[in-house]
Homo-oligomer: 320 residues x 4
């Protein structure tokens, strides 16, 4: 049974990471454990950059974006030597387990460290929702709402000027943010990495809806597709509708987390500590059928995430 645990955030930051850190800390303390915060991902473990945590350490962080533990990549931890050094540090500090909040790359490190005898639990923290073993990742809801609110504003100016706005949203190689945000803003079309696209067909649809009275257009493009400037110029050239490209960028990563991100982070953080309490490691906590569950890390990493075919169909059928 774990007596002392650590928590770290790794990879890109995401809103709700602080809520997860808080939950891990509080759940650990509630169960009589000592809890330490490990700074800057696995680097802090290797360098001994850790802070003691009590209930007050995590006061007032649940509503903050970013991560109070900082985050960074740690190339050294990709090698077995780095992992062994990490294990030694854990033994030295008396750490009986670690909660790792991050993405697939971070989970690999957690699996490696678990294999060395330090139970590690992964929590899915990324705005991109591109982790296969879970329906939901911490930060996803906030990022989508931020993107949506920005596009709602862009619509004001697109509408005033009878323009087409082509907006690139984040999501790395996945179209989850793009497709949901496109549905939420009532976009004319969405272009995602998972599906082929045909700019001529989009242009044709624009011209058709123009005849029915529509004077402005929103096209959402996923980061994984890119070419936003090219898409914009091409649509303008074909349709003659003045078109503008906007890349929403890093704004989408920050901001105070939504209810959903804070609550899911709290539930996942708590569940992670329950696992460590029982000495269980090498698991990722995820959401399945709207419920918190956990799964073996190797199994998690080999899963494939289905594309939201139904929403994609609805969007294409009803955008006119």
């Amino acid at each position: 049974m774990a007596k002392k645990i650590g928590v770290l955030t790794s990879g890109g930051d995401a809103p709700g990471m602080n809520a997860a850190v808080r939950a891990v800390c509080r759940a650990g303390l509630a169960k009589g454990m000592e809890v330490v915060g490990i700074l800057r991902g696995y680097n802090g473990l290797l360098n001994g950059e850790v802070i003691e945590m009590n209930a007050r350490t995590v006061s007032g962080i649940i509503q903050r974006g970013g991560t109070c533990l900082y985050t960074a990549r740690c190339p050294e931890f990709r090698d077995i030597e780095g992992v062994k050094k990490g294990r030694d540090k854990c033994l030295e500090m008396g750490l009986d387990g670690i909660v790792v909040i991050g993405g697939d790359g971070s989970f690999r490190g957690a699996a490696d460290l678990s294999a060395q005898g330090i139970p590690c639990i992964g929590l899915p923290g990324t705005i991109d929702n591109d982790i296969s073993c879970t329906e939901y990742t911490i930060g996803y809801d906030t990022a989508m709402n931020t993107a949506m609110e920005m596009i709602d504003k862009i619509r004001d100016t697109a509408q005033s000027h009878d323009r087409c706005s082509v907006v690139e949203v984040m999501g790395r190689n996945a179209g989850h943010i793009a497709i949901n945000v496109a549905a939420a803003v009532g976009a004319e079309a969405v272009i995602t990495p998972e599906k082929p696209y045909d700019l001529n067909a989009i242009a044709q649809k624009m011209e058709q809806t123009k005849k029915s009275g529509k004077t402005h257009f929103i096209i959402v493009v996923a980061e994984g597709v890119g070419k936003t400037e090219y898409i914009t110029r091409t649509l303008q050239d074909i349709t003659g509708v003045e078109s503008r490209a906007t890349i929403l960028g890093h704004v989408q990563r920050g901001g105070s987390p939504t209810v959903r991100d804070r609550v899911v982070a709290t539930e996942m953080g708590y569940h992670a500590v329950e696992l460590l309490e029982q000495g269980i490691g090498n698991r990722v906590v995820g959401m399945k059928d709207n419920k918190i569950y956990d799964v073996d890390i190797q199994e998690a990493l080999s899963m494939k995430k289905p594309f939201e075919e139904e929403l994609y169909k609805i969007l294409n059928e009803t955008a006119f």
Copy 2:
């Protein structure tokens, strides 16, 4: 197969109702149907207050709070005479089906009208998430985020003055909003209608955490509990911590819907039209295991909604 359908909103308004109306309208048009909007709930059906809808009618409404079809209670529709009059109006207008967006009361009307030969589909639209057949109701996410953002602001002043803020959130007889918002703001305690509460125990916990350095407190009270002023005074009397009550009120019902409310409304609206397309009525569309599904209205009305025991436990265990 339906050739002409109507859509109405009934009961309390909720953010996302417009997104649902839009989805019903667009899905109907995409499937070659005529679509009419029925104003002010069942009243508009009885009075013939209906508007023809095309793709432009629902332009620019997806991001708006409230309902562009207005809403109202309709006592006349509770009697079989009213329902029969409604059926006659449908026949007169050539309506082959109706999508009813609202709560349990509205679904009863939809069942009655279905029994009279007009297929009706219910969509769960209420901020309270108090409909048993579905994990999620349209408007719930927006209302929770609005409440949370308001409490985040109240915290600023509670903290500056070393105060306790007791905040009443909506939710009618259910504690769903209260418990999730309490978790999201890191409240010291939550008081919901589903569970007994002990002000002495809460006060004791406040005094204990005060010793560990906490100087301000947030207590969330569900509307169904009420007595917010009394709770505030009592906590102040026991603990000596200056305490203030705030009732968040109708602000929680309005505002631009979140991504989740817009997307779920879109999916549910589309699914409702698919059912009507096949001539199916007397169903409620809901969410189960995070997926859209439908269920018989009578069955839906007899279900019981489970309380969020796990989140309640986490909240109580980790608030200190």
Copy 3:
């Protein structure tokens, strides 16, 4: 010339106070001074509750509501004995001057302490904009925007239900918030302490505009008028329009400050330090003709603030 200065916040908290604290701290450091933060208003001075400040102490506070120095009333400081004790504490700590962020009551203390030989500068920090010597007080803009955004949400539900919403906004005995917010939301009427009001006339106007097609109404009531429940019932009784009262409450005091509050706080804080640098005390910093200026505290306290007659006229003439 001042070598070491203190800064405190007193009275009700207001968004932007942190920006002012930050500006005082940074300006002081930039000018080679030592700077201390005095906690919980004048209490901290009397109890020696002070913290050393450096550039990092005020990192990341400019965007936060509330005050990181906490605030409280201090009855002891109303007597000359308390003031003398405060002076002795200043001498003991080597404080050559203090910046006091608060309202008229706080300025009286600043004047008294100045008279005892410790130069004090007042900065107007209150959401109510009820300080006569200045066109603008720190926190006013944020509070108005918060109130406006809440009423914009209330409008969604008022409109959906064909209702009248009577909304009470803060402002203590002044109608500044009320009248500006009423203009900003396009209210049907505003009721402020500075002007008599006639509920029959308001009801009559409602009935008139109803004839021109208006179906919902917003009435803004200033806190200093109160009786919001009574006004609501009376308007409903006369007009027959279903009416609801909402008291916006403490939400208006919190939240991240607007650009205006942050910038004005920065400018005023800087100016206050410039005065102390020259050994000048007993002044309030204010805004006049849109420019930062300073004025003798006694003179400031004897001024009278004009009512916004022009905006009041416009509002009444164009609300129909």
Copy 4:
């Protein structure tokens, strides 16, 4: 005395334009005039694209971004022939005057049309605050707050990753948005078109503050400077701090206007109608010493706007 007036929006859209349109419409109606809305700037005048307005036409627009009258450039109106055609259209429609909401280019058209005997009043509507005759332009406050809120979010991720974020804000050839937003977010440095800049000096300051414990940096760059990618790379090369560029883009033009934009728009719109009521044309309404005033258009166009030297100084002195 004017019996029938028109209102149009021209140039780039700005939040608050709708509030100004509403004020012009309502003030005109209150004074017994007929009011028409002219669509898409001067084009609507030349093409007869006008709509009759009543009190309900402008219902629910005060809180919307963009302009309900649409906007567009009109090259034809730059020639005397176009202006004469505009005058003929005014005579044909019986228009006794026009309120033109836009920027300097739009005012030139207003002056030309006034010279042809149709009194025109200009209202300053642009987010850039780059109109010399006025301290304030409609849309400025909203744009700054939007930019600030986005940078507050970017800060979360900059801080979590120990990065430098270089953010380009709008403002055309002027640094007003940049300097105020930089002050509001506590930026390390601001680069504006009005002042020379030295990337080596900025980098040196970054390194210095890094020694005092600062780990992340925000640099604000005005659109008129551009080269944001180059600046970012250069700062990264010199300091070794990982740096990212973000161009905030068109999001800044949209969104629901702030209190200040709505209220100033209302006051300016009302004042414009008062002038037309007296048969006065060829004036721009502006703000001077925080008060609404009006000035001859030619005089307005020849003015020069002072740079905010004081705020620039404060920012540079206190950013460390």
